[in-house]
Symmetry: C2
Subunit: 200 residues, 2 copies
């Protein structure tokens, strides 16, 4: 039995969202599972010195245009939210809390967060939005709210982000298949060939 | 008659080399021509504040690995030269000088420079190498050497790079089809669909 594919992403990363809409089906086609791991690009960029794409001189305007074109190319609904980029701590912490309880539910929650942000344009940096999205999936809102306010879950997310950085994750989406890293939604065709052929 | 596709590249950019091996055939398939325009990423990065990929923390190792994997994926021979990245002023200046005389010859010269660097591992920053590559294509070496030493050709390259920056070119390869910009060799599939459908 192969190890699951690792999928590192930030809820505020458009290319992460695009990859999130494709990676499970791509993996399933080749009998593979995917382990989703939300991270915080803000912390990663403190290590690498990188700047968010939309804030990079000249690249910013291009990237906003490319997000939308790439979404059309991949046939994924997408609208850049008015408030962008946003902090994704609450969403990422909620994901890990849910994942420890029910990993299928955590996956549905992750899709719901991406969809709320990139389709409905909701502010996913707001803890109330995160709680609302979880509640719509049947999660006990009060329990989650308590966990989100606690130190344990904060530490958990910090540990996950530090582990990702230690593993070499410098951007998102960052997908690892049997130790082979692929950065960016535009590596999906290479990922597909890698899964088909076992490496090239 | 459509305008030619613009192909901005730096001879020292691996992804530019990969795109250079594909762009003419892709364009020809859709009855389009390509205008090649060597630029200097070093000057571009002074404007944008970007750092060369291989010198970026963490991204450096990944990118070296990705150059080779992407070349295999695209079925293009590739070996990262020992001396890399290199200054490409001489090659770029020679390209424009040749282009003003014989644009087909300039195209053959550009391929020869890329091949010398990424297949044979030669030092294309060396003016002697550039002259040698041109001479092998029947160019008068002495005339080219005189032009390369002159101010006019230096100014010409500077003007071309400044025009590219003014046009929004922030990296390479940067391909423009009827005003629509595509950055990176990984946008070749989008370029293909754009040419097929006239936009999406």
């Amino acid at each position: 039995m192969s190890e699951p594919i690792e999928f590192y992403f930030d809820f505020s990363s458009p290319y992460s969202y695009l990859a999130s809409e494709k990676i499970d089906a791509l993996a399933a086609k080749h009998g593979r599972k995917v382990k989703w791991k939300p991270i915080l690009l803000g912390i990663v960029f403190k290590t690498t010195g990188a700047v968010p794409l939309t804030q990079a001189p000249m690249k910013g305007d291009y990237s906003r245009h490319d997000f939308e074109r790439s979404a059309r190319f991949l046939d994924v609904p997408f609208k850049l939210p008015e408030k962008f980029p946003v902090a994704t701590q609450a969403a990422a912490r909620a994901y890990y809390w849910l994942h420890d309880r029910d990993c299928a539910l955590a996956r549905r929650f992750a899709h719901a967060v991406f969809c709320a942000f990139y389709v409905a344009g909701r502010d996913i940096s707001d803890t109330a939005t995160v709680l609302n999205l979880a509640a719509a999936l049947g999660v006990n809102e009060e329990e989650l709210a308590t966990a989100l306010a606690g130190q344990e879950l904060k530490d958990r997310l910090r540990t996950e982000v530090e582990a990702a950085i230690a593993r070499g994750v410098f951007g998102a989406p960052y997908i690892v298949i049997d130790g082979e890293p692929f950065w960016g939604a535009d590596r999906l065709p290479q990922i597909e060939q890698w899964l088909e052929t076992g490496g090239f």
